[in-house]
Amino acid sequence: MSPLDDTSSRNRRSGTIRLDLKLIADMVEPGSRVLDIGCGDGALLDFLVHEKGVDGRGIELSMDGVHTCVSHGLSVIQGDAETDLKDYPSGAFDYVILSQTLQAMRAPRTVLEELVRIGDRAIVSFPNFGYWRIRMALLWLGRMPVTERLGYEWYETPNIHFCTIKDFTSLCDRLDIKIDRSVILGRDNRPTRLASADRTANFFGEQGVFMLRRNGTHG
């Protein structure tokens, strides 16, 4: 399962997927090699394989997710990204995708470095903890927010490393990771006109989708 409490990520029959996943899919060149980390029930991977003809692979921690994926003919291994990524050779994939999973990683910084090592590009999306509704919830209610997208109580959440868009971009800077593209999503997964560098993105974005690469690489 995705660390976000959302099971309606895909409708295989109609070939449609959740809007934020579609945004990621739009960033991927058809026919490329893609590794989807924390691929859940395979919604995005299935879409990429069948609609964009990619050579897609996945890693998923949960047994149910892996069963669903493999039973649907997707190439997915049961594993932990934090221990398994080091096995892959550098440049093994055109794109490595980490969708809504960064905040569940024990060592998000190491994972980011691995992403841009094994993928020419890395596409990372995560919920923005600086989003104004979350700030308001903390400010007015004084409690950890439980929203539709972050549907866990603090004591049971798999999300252990929340960050804001600002935190994320400054970590990328420090790791010398270049942000090629960014899309800031507002309510209901709708893309805003904001860029990650905008002062207000960190306030109005509910989540961010970033395309990254190691500095010094181009293509």
Binding site: R33, D55, H67, V70, H72, S75, I77, Q78, P89
Partner: protein, 406 residues
């Protein structure tokens, strides 16, 4: 040692080269053009392999699935076994509409060389002496078994197998197929297996072999000429091995400490406990269908198996192909309570495949049934097999059902 073992063709079992035969319990003589060289250096010429096929080979010969059997299995994979009268060992998985769907795929299963169900092995007659080979039979390896299967597949006129699938020792053969003949295998499905036999597993095999060799009726391996058979030793070997195929949870659920047909222990050495009675039954029924020397040879083949060894000790190197990853699509499956071939063994193969960025799926099935789970009713496991094959068939462009078959 570089002797050539000729084998006189039994009457009525020859097949014309290139013909595709359907049906169960067939035999073919292989190594007729030139002998097959074994890892031990001996060459096998004109040797028999027993096999069965199910389903129909399609027009472009792209739907063949090779099923590899485990240590004590044979080619009676889904039909009734001629000795035990029981359904085939994988009848749940192989058949019309089953996960390995014989309406869609052409399934081939051969008795391994060294076996005792019709393929050349120590119980067969050595034409040079007119007597059974016994210990005169050359020591074989998993790679040798696969070489013989490759000759069989060539004989059937199939250039590329759609999939090679098998569990335990069969899984070792699957891995060997993918490494030896990457161009001739589209997909590989190794189940509950490992890239090498562990020290613990070699140790268990040695217990079995010593039990056989300690039986006075073994006669130094010459029992067939002496008119006896080492039933007791073979039964003990089977009993010990059978424990390793199960899990403590499975044994406990089945038997616990329940007594067999009695209210109290007898303070003796009868089979007081149900579990003892069960193991004795396993041992006794096994000797009816298996040859003791075959057991020695085949366990040895598993012991010698180490895929990394011939690739500089680096398993990943076994899966490199022309500066890139192997073209074979893999799906590995392990069972959570399997302590004979634990999940870590499958994971080691997955990691090696990842290291060359090969196309690999991996699933650990949660079950308390132990190693034997791959032979039992495990719906999740069956779904994985079906899903992986369906996905591969899509990539290979195989049509569903018989519509487009020859």
């Amino acid at each position: 040692m570089n002797a050539s073992i000729p084998f006189r063709q039994p009457p009525g079992v020859a097949e014309a080269a290139g013909s595709v035969s359907e049906g169960t319990n067939r035999r073919v003589v292989l190594g007729t053009d030139r002998p097959m060289r074994l890892d031990c250096g001996v060459e096998l010429a004109n040797f028999t392999v027993a096999y069965s096929t199910f389903g129909t080979l399609n027009a472009d010969r792209s739907n063949a699935v090779m099923v590899c059997h485990a240590l004590t299995g044979d080619h009676f994979v889904t039909d009734y076994h001629p000795v035990s009268g029981k359904p085939g060992w994988w009848s749940m998985l192989v058949g019309p509409g089953r996960p390995i769907d014989t309406d869609r795929y052409f399934v081939i299963c051969s008795n391994v060389i060294g076996g005792c169900m019709g393929s050349i092995g120590p119980a067969e007659t050595d034409p040079a002496t007119g007597k059974p080979y016994g210990l005169g039979f050359p020591v074989i390896t998993i790679a040798d078994m696969v070489r013989a299967q490759k000759l069989l597949v060539d004989h059937l006129g199939i250039d590329k197998l759609f999939c090679v699938v098998g569990g335990s020792m069969g899984g070792m053969q699957v891995l060997q197929w993918a490494v030896s003949y990457p161009e001739h295998v589209f997909a590989a499905l190794p189940i509950a297996t490992a890239a090498r036999h562990s020290a613990q597993n070699i140790a268990f095999h040695e217990v079995g072999r010593q039990a056989i060799m300690a039986d006075p009726d073994w006669c130094g391996g010459d029992y067939l000429n002496q008119g006896v058979r080492p039933h007791r030793g073979l039964a003990v070997a089977r009993m010990a091995a059978h424990i390793t195929y199960l899990s403590e949870a499975a044994l406990h659920r089945k038997f616990g400490r329940n007594l067999q047909n009695r209210q109290a222990v007898t303070y003796g050495f009868d089979a007081d406990f149900q579990v003892e009675s069960y193991l004795r039954h396993q041992g006794i029924t096994f000797v009816d269908r298996f040859d003791a020397n075959s057991y020695l040879y085949i366990t040895r083949a598993m012991d010698y198996f180490d895929l990394a060894a011939e690739h500089g000790g680096v398993l990943a190197n076994a899966f490199r192909y022309k500066d890139g990853p192997t073209p074979v699509r893999f799906c590995l499956t392990s069972f959570s309570s399997d302590w004979l071939f634990p999940t870590t063994e499958s994971r080691a193969v997955v990691h090696a495949l990842n290291a060359v960025a090969a196309n690999v799926s991996f699933v650990e099935v949660a079950t308390d049934k132990g190693h034997d789970a791959f032979l039992l009713d495990e719906p999740q496991f069956h779904q994985v097999v079906r899903g992986f094959l369906d996905g591969c068939a899509e990539h290979r462009g195989l049509t569903r059902r018989r519509a487009a078959t020859a």
